[in-house]
């Protein structure tokens, strides 16, 4: 009897030895099978095929690694995440592309998605990552996931095999291209899919490239294609103002005027569109219309929304019709609008973070928002803050990283009970938390610095226009002094400049303009000038 049992044991051992010698990649579960054990009855996750592949890749597994893979099999990603340090720290696998991809995969699954993508994209030679791991990544991180937009990463062409051409286009096209990046834009356009946001963005960049390089004809063609798209990924007001600018630059002032008038009042672009519309009128030799347009803009309630050039333009048109009283008032308006603004911006440049924090929180809460939504705080910030694409992207990255920093802190505090082998808080998870915090702070600093840069540019602009306003003042003085000599004196030939602004429908309503301006009257003023620069004989 004893002999029989001994024989059976020897046979079993021989079988085991044979199997072990047959393959170096004996799996822990095989051993479990051989020893007649059973796995816990748990729900098996779809990562089973991944872990099988990885088990084969690694070969013989230690107990900690077995535990990690079991967690993965069961879809318990948080536990697997906590287990990583015990299982793989210091191993060769942890530094291999597949190991790094697996670690990034765990980060992704526990909610540290920006970190995960950045970690993944930092892997050199992604084609050496195990095929199964790559396909799992592809499935786990669809392109619609916002972390693709937020991660700071380059693009190794080999990743195109993993995530596809659309991912490549999506990552590369996030860039705000320079005017000279035509080759890059064109190459990406060829790869982009039809009716995608990336394609629209690239076409938009292409239109800008042509416009900035003086090829308005090509720029207009691309822009008109974009404008005809059923689904507009680029804001229609931005496209309209761009079309108007192209026409203006090429001297088609009437057409430019029509396009400027299509920009919605509710848009942030409306104020700049009106300013440029006023420039178009002055170039057309219609200062009365410039006066009418700027009358709507130069209002105390709009002081946060208009640029310094608007007041200068108004003063210039007043000079053109010899409205010296009005021009003198414009000098005072300029001072009352832009002196406090310059002070606010200078305090921003000197580290007053309060308005920046307010703006950041508004972006965090609402996403992209128009400047008017910032109410009184808009006056303390550069007027382009809500339109600056770089700033918006920085804010979104900071918001994303802030959420991840919170998640990392949560993981760290849970690590006391979440880890399996280690007791107490895990230092490596604390490193992740600290690292994410640092990334968030970096993004936030970049956001702040960008606002400082915009503030500096705006103060410079205010200063430059201030110098021009001094010239206007000198011009008023000179013209007033010699006005008796330069003005026409023939009463029979009084010049009348009829305005053409305001409502254009057949059945317009006309009201006299008063000091009090109703909100519906904005951009509906019409000014006729009579006896401009003419003095009657007495």
């Amino acid at each position: 009897m004893m002999n029989a049992i001994t024989k059976l044991l020897i046979n079993r051992l021989i079988s085991i030895s044979f199997l072990l010698s047959f393959s170096h990649t004996v799996l822990a579960s095989d051993i479990l099978d051989l020893l007649g054990g059973k796995e816990a009855q748990v729900e098996i996750g779809k990562d089973k095929s991944l872990t099988q592949e990885l088990r084969r890749e690694i070969g013989s597994l230690n107990a900690e690694q077995v535990i990690l893979f079991n967690f993965l099999d069961q879809g318990q990603y948080e536990k697997a995440f906590y287990q990583w340090g015990s299982a793989f720290d210091g191993t060769r696998f942890a530094y291999e592309p597949t190991g790094r991809a697996l670690k990034a995969y765990l980060f992704y699954k526990v909610g540290l998605q920006i970190n995960a993508l950045e970690m993944l994209m930092s892997i050199q030679n992604p084609n050496t990552i195990k095929k199964e791991m790559r396909s799992f990544w592809k499935e786990a991180a669809p392109l619609a996931n916002p972390s693709w937009q937020l991660a700071d990463m380059g693009w190794d062409p080999m990743w195109t095999d993993v995530f596809g051409r659309q991912a490549e286009v999506q990552v590369k096209s996030r860039k705000i291209f320079d005017a000279n990046d035509y080759t890059q834009i064109e190459a990406l356009l060829r790869k982009s899919g039809e009716n995608t946001e990336e394609r629209a963005w690239l076409e938009w960049q292409l239109a800008l490239h042509f416009a900035l390089n003086g090829d308005a004809a090509k720029g207009s063609k691309v822009l008109s294609l974009l404008m005809k798209e059923k689904k507009n990924f680029i804001e229609p007001n931005l496209m309209n103002i761009t079309a108007a600018r192209m026409l203006y630059e090429n001297g088609y002032l009437d057409a430019a005027v029509q396009y400027y008038q299509t920009v919605d009042k509710s848009s942030d672009y409306w104020f700049v569109a009106q300013e440029e519309l006023a420039w178009s009128y002055i170039r057309k030799g219609e200062p009365q219309n410039t006066l009418a347009v700027t009358k709507s803009l130069v209002q105390p309630s709009f002081k946060a929304l208009i640029g310094p050039e608007t007041v200068f333009l108004r003063a210039l048109s007043q000079l053109k019709v010899c409205d010296y009283k009005g021009a003198s008032q414009s000098l005072l308006d300029y001072k009352s609008f832009f002196k406090p603004k310059a002070e606010k911006l200078e305090s921003l440049m000197a580290d007053n973070t309060e308005p920046v924090e307010f703006f950041f929180k508004s972006l965090e809460k609402n996403g992209r928002l128009p400047l008017v939504k910032l109410k009184a705080k808009a006056y303390e910030l550069p007027r382009y803050v809500t339109r600056d694409e770089v700033l918006y992207r920085l804010s979104q990255r900071a918001v994303g990283l802030k959420a991840e920093a919170v998640k990392a802190a949560e993981l760290y505090s849970k690590s006391l009970s979440g880890g399996t082998a280690k007791v107490g808080f895990q230092a490596d998870i604390n490193d992740i938390k600290v690292g994410t915090d640092n990334k968030y702070q970096t993004a936030k600093n970049a956001f702040y610095n960008r606002i400082k840069l915009l503030a500096t540019e705006e103060v410079t602009e205010i200063n430059q226009i201030l110098q021009k306003m001094h010239i206007v003042e000198a011009e008023i003085l000179q013209q007033v002094t010699v006005s008796q000599d330069i003005a026409s004196t023939d009463k029979s030939e009084f010049d009348v400049k009829k305005g053409s602004t305001g409502g254009k429908a057949r059945d317009v309503l006309k009201f006299p303009a008063t000091e009090e301006i109703w909100f519906d009257e904005i951009s509906n003023f019409k000014i006729d000038v009579k006896k401009g620069c003419q003095i009657s004989k007495k």
């Binding site: 409205d323 003198s328 201030l466 009201f511 909100f519 000014i527």
Partner: protein
């Protein structure tokens, strides 16, 4: 030594920035400070005529407006108190002119306390009840204005109209002339309200012979613009 130099350079940069800032503020202060200039400038005014020219919020070209109407009469026969409801159909040719068709139905024709007093004295005054009326009007809207209602601008028109039609009385139909003055408020592209005064005149058939009655009524309608 390097640290000291760096500190000096940085301090100079900061000072330079502050100095630039104060220069800018001084520059601002010097703008527009010439009072003599303003006095002279004010004496040289060109004539600037500034108007607000804006589109109507509600288009009233070639549109139909259907309005249920309530009218309360006074005047005319002193022994009769009448109220009516009806329907107005207005065809707006443009914001200045419209053609209107008005049908009213007298849902309440009561005798007054004066009639009762006379009856108590043994005199029974004769009355001829208006049962319904159908009239056509030509309406002219010469004046317009706007209201600011809780930061929403609403346009309105004052109008006047002249018309003719027929009134069905207790003792038969009578030709009727009428005139309105009213206020049309255009709340939205579809919702309207009219408040006004209507004058109507027709001949009532009484026992003592026909008598011209001049009826006045106040009306209010809430309409829908098609």
């Amino acid at each position: 030594m390097k640290k000291i130099l760096l500190t000096i350079v940085l301090s100079s940069l900061v000072l330079c920035q502050f100095s630039m800032a104060s220069e800018l503020m001084k520059d601002f202060d010097s703008l527009g400070g010439n009072s003599d200039l303003y006095k002279k400038a004010k004496a040289l005014n060109p004539e600037l005529r500034t108007q607000v020219v804006q589109n109507r919020i509600v288009d009233r070209r070639l549109r139909l407006e259907l309005s249920p109407t309530y009218m309360n009469y006074w005047g005319g026969n002193p022994y009769l108190s009448s109220q009516s409801v009806g329907m107005e159909l207005a065809f707006h040719i443009n914001p200045r002119w419209s053609l209107d068709l008005s049908y009213t139905f007298g849902f309440q024709n009561d005798v007054t306390s004066e009639w009762t007093s006379l009856v108590n004295l043994g005199v029974v005054p004769d009355v001829d009840f208006p049962k319904s009326s159908l009239m056509g009007f030509v309406t002219y809207y010469p004046f317009y204005g706007k209201l600011n209602a809780f930061d929403t601008v609403i346009h309105f028109d004052l109008y006047t109209s002249l018309g003719a039609g027929t009134t069905e009385l207790s003792f038969g139909n009578q030709a009727t002339l009428g005139a309105n003055i009213g206020l049309g408020i255009w709340w939205s592209q579809h919702l309207t309200t009219r408040i006004g005064y209507r004058y109507q005149t027709y001949e009532a058939q009484l026992k003592n012979g026909p008598e011209d009655l001049d009826m006045s009524s106040a009306f209010v309608s809430v309409g829908y613009m098609l």
